[in-house]
Amino acid sequence: MLTVPIETMLIFAGLLFLIGLVGLLTRRNLIFMLMSIEIMFNSAGLVFIIAGRHWKQADGQVMFIFILAVAAVEVAIGLALLLQVYHHYKTLDADSVGKLKDNNQ
């Protein structure tokens, strides 16, 4: 029977989330950004499971399933967009995709 205190588990999940966040912030390559988002999804799911186990409720696991679904769709759309960006800009640099800029400077 696992007796690891819940606080450490939660902190671990938080750590995972932060690593994903750092990855998202630093990497300029779109693929790595997508990947970091996946990490963050995963750590969020982990927290649900931990809580589900603690309260012995099934909701945690159900929630994880939904997160999975969302993650899957997100990756599909993300990669499709990534392909379009790659064809259009011939590069995967996140900063070059800057058309939303306020151009009255």
């Binding site: 630093t26 990490i39 696991q61 999975l68 990669l79 392909l83």
Partner: protein
């Protein structure tokens, strides 16, 4: 029992760090798959075997494979020199500071929580299955629609239509 948990956690952490700091996209993806597998071990330890299985099948199996498939197909992740320029150490400083701050916050918040003692009922996958299709049946349907929409969207976005100039945008 705890030992396995800490081992899996360590593996997961190291592999995710390797994943985000790697230059080569494929290596990074593979590291990420390792970390996902480690997390599924943790799920198992948290006596959620169904979720662990799902994690391995869908998450590691389907999503990551799709990822690798796309990067390999268009071999877009391999420009070495650009990656090096983008990855000079100075870039890491600010995000890591922010992450550290957030970590401190997480720790403070989590330690501040008064989490009551766990209830000693049993929880097994059967209950998950039952609740999945009893209380959350609507959510499951919506998830289904979401997935369908995802598929159609991905198809349209991904397809290589020939260049069509817009009626008045003239692009």
């Amino acid at each position: 029992m705890n030992f396995f948990f800490y081992l899996a956690a360590a593996i997961a952490l190291i592999s995710t760090i390797m994943a985000i700091s790697g230059r080569n996209a494929i290596h990074a993806l593979l590291n990420l798959i390792i970390s996902l597998l480690a997390v599924s071990v943790i799920f198992y330890l948290l006596d959620a075997p169904f979720i662990a299985a799902l994690e391995v099948i869908i998450y590691a199996g389907a999503i990551m494979v799709l990822f690798i498939f796309v990067t390999m197909m268009l071999n877009i992740g391999t420009e070495k020199k650009i990656e090096k320029r983008w990855l000079n150490p100075r870039v890491w400083i600010v995000p890591s500071i922010l992450a550290a701050l957030l970590l401190v916050d997480f720790i403070l918040i989590i330690n501040g929580l008064q989490i009551p003692e766990p209830v000693d009922e049993t929880l097994n996958t059967k209950q998950v299955g039952i609740s999945l299709f009893s209380t959350y049946v609507l959510a499951v349907e919506i998830a289904g629609i979401l997935l369908m929409a995802g598929v159609i969207g991905a198809y349209h976005l991904g397809s290589q239509k020939k260049k069509v100039t817009h009626r008045f945008l003239k692009k």
